[in-house]
Symmetry: C2
Subunit: 189 residues, 2 copies
Amino acid sequence: MALPRAPEVLVLESIPLVQARVFEVVRERIQLPSGLTQDLVLIDHPGAVVVLAEDERGRVAVVRQYRHPIGRWLTELPAGRVERGEDRLEAARRELDEEAGLRAARWESLGCFYPAPGFCSEQIEIFWARELSPTGAARRPLDDDEELSAHWLDWPQAQIELASDAKSAIALSRWRKALGETFQPDSAR
Amino acid sequence: MALPRAPEVLVLESIPLVQARVFEVVRERIQLPSGLTQDLVLIDHPGAVVVLAEDERGRVAVVRQYRHPIGRWLTELPAGRVERGEDRLEAARRELDEEAGLRAARWESLGCFYPAPGFCSEQIEIFWARELSPTGAARRPLDDDEELSAHWLDWPQAQIELASDAKSAIALSRWRKALGETFQPDSAR
């Protein structure tokens, strides 16, 4: 993959440690403009997308699945990593179809964020999807080892059930902000 | 470290791959109750804290530092990982002192979240710190390789400058929700 680099920071050493399916683990030694050196092990991640798919009743599509790193079943918005060379909007369309069986006629970006910038390069872009329809029989299969169930939540319930998952909580909050700006034309933006 | 485990999920194999300073990289093969097996590489992380330190003028303390994994200088709330055996509130006090040179007389938890539950066990607890005073000369040194600057942001500015960092954005949003509940006693909670 290609780690984002700041031109003013010297990379003195870069050693690949692990090549996993989703990410790479790399040890790097760097020098900041001040002369300070840092040794760190970091996760080189291709980036991901999360989809806030809103139906005509204002409900959002969510998926529930087992997340082994935290030992829990978790409710989240549909999401997934960007494949090599894939456009982010394309990745968002693919994940919404694969995970929730939905397509959307209207797409809007709600911006990006870093889930764990202290040790991971991952950047996640949030997409707001509207004018939904089921992909039905055309629904593509999940990845071989994925097992999840999709359902709908209204706003009060989504606020509660999605609070533990960073990407979902941030997407919800940007969505409400976008809605507020739409419905309050006199707001300061 | 100790990965959180769900009793109904079988861990068929667990192989440590990398022992870094902050986390461990582990390859695991598991079996879900349905019989489905998953192979995954995951980050075993001890957990972290983030501190929303609010002064008497409603401003929040932030720090700015270079984050090598994303190749950018980033503005964030004071935060850091929980050391082995350390209480989370203790970790929050320590980070607020080390990173912002502040102590607080009033502490409140705003709950927890998972920044990257798809591949990392990290759970972050959010603390709201008030009644601040500078630790001044008593300020403990940063970690050897840390270099950061602390300053204050008012709410509109914080909303903009902290938006890219997941833990800071979520902490801000829970703080505003907590303030809303305090100042609107007739709200539905």
